[in-house]
């Protein structure tokens, strides 16, 4: 469960990204495809070369959704409701992959924030991504 402190840290952390969300999203996605090759099976139509516009574009989309979630931490279910439907009925991404994206987003954030990616922030982000994953998988069955 996200505590008040977690929520504060999340908002602060996102605030530090200073408009680089698109880059962060693209970086995280690229790292995920690279470290966890099976995740590419959901994007057979993508150009997977480095710097690909499709990967960048999709990373931007994913990050925008996460940023929106950070703005609505008190009601994640509602904020992610449409995406939850999408993942359950259309995309049907196996939930194990949410953990891979979480790991890669955290690595991306850590590379950018260094020491500022403190254990408390690390914990908050991990909990947040876990909560997002739960909501996205909520309607799977």
């Amino acid at each position: 469960m996200l505590t008040g402190e977690d929520k504060k840290l999340l908002q602060q952390t996102w605030g530090k990204l200073g408009g680089a969300e698109e880059e962060v999203g693209a970086d995280a996605l690229w790292r995920m495809f690279h470290s966890y090759p099976p995740t590419k099976t959901y994007f057979p139509h993508f150009d997977m070369s480095q710097g690909s516009d499709q990967v960048r574009g999709h990373g931007k989309k994913v990050m925008a959704a996460l940023s929106n979630a950070v703005k609505n931490l008190d009601n994640l279910s509602q904020a992610l409701s449409e995406l939850s439907n999408l993942h359950a009925y259309n995309l049907r991404v196996d939930p194990v992959n949410f953990k891979f994206l979480s790991q890669c987003l955290q690595v991306t954030l850590a590379t950018r924030l260094g020491k500022e990616y403190s254990p408390e922030v690390h914990s908050a982000v991990d909990k947040f991504m876990s909560a997002v994953a739960s909501v996205l998988a909520e309607k799977y069955r």
Binding site: S35, T111, G114
Partner: protein
């Protein structure tokens, strides 16, 4: 002890188990050139002879992967990173504290980070992890006894190895920043996965 199923037809080696390699003996086949020997690399721990027949079941490391792993490891302070990684495990996944009831105060992130037992144990764990880095081509063997220990004596759910491995990668990322490239991360995610697997291998 004999292995009930051998997927290969040639001998695995002496039935007694691993054979000591002379200290000045050949380096492991497949170790990349230029790996800086870490601390304790001169220790005379017995190691299994590498049989060609085992190649089929070995993890394959590309030269690039080995280089990426070694270059990161060469710049890691085992003491600092080990303490950091273990502390984060206990902070981010507090249920892992179940294994460390004797460690004293773990009641807050500050307490965990400052806890001398956490620091000492973190250093111990990462030093052990370093054995994998030095023995990329025989990680299974390297951790065989530790695997038995974690199962029989410590009763640790192997999921914890995966959690710690992922945390270690995040710690490295925070430490190295942009230098921790996607290629670097991929090599290290593979390494922590292989180590976790090796540690779980002897569970029964």
């Amino acid at each position: 002890m004999t292995t009930p199923h051998c997927r290969v037809t040639t001998a695995w080696g002496p039935p007694g188990g691993p054979v000591p390699v002379p200290a000045n003996g050949p380096r492991w086949a497949g170790l990349a050139q230029g790996i800086k020997p870490g601390p304790g690399s001169g220790s005379a721990q017995p190691r299994a002879l590498l049989q060609p027949s085992r190649a089929a079941t070995m993890v394959h490391w590309s030269a690039e992967e080995k280089q990426l792993i070694a270059s990161v490891w060469g710049r890691v302070s085992v003491e600092e990173c080990g303490a950091e990684a273990l502390a984060r495990l206990l902070i981010v996944y507090p249920w892992t504290q179940r294994f460390f009831a004797s460690f004293g105060n773990l009641s807050s992130p500050t307490a965990v980070l400052g806890n001398p037992k956490v620091q000492a144990h973190g250093k111990k764990v990462l030093t052990s992890f370093g054995e994998a880095v030095k023995n990329l081509d025989s990680i299974k063997n390297t951790f065989s006894q530790l695997s038995e220990l974690h199962c029989d004596k410590l009763h640790v759910d192997p999921e914890n190895f995966r959690l710690l491995g992922d945390i270690l990668v995040v710690v490295l990322a925070a430490h190295f920043g942009k230098d921790f490239t996607p290629d670097c991360q991929a090599a290290w995610q593979k390494l922590v996965r292989v180590v976790a697997h090796a540690l779980a291998r002897k569970y029964h």
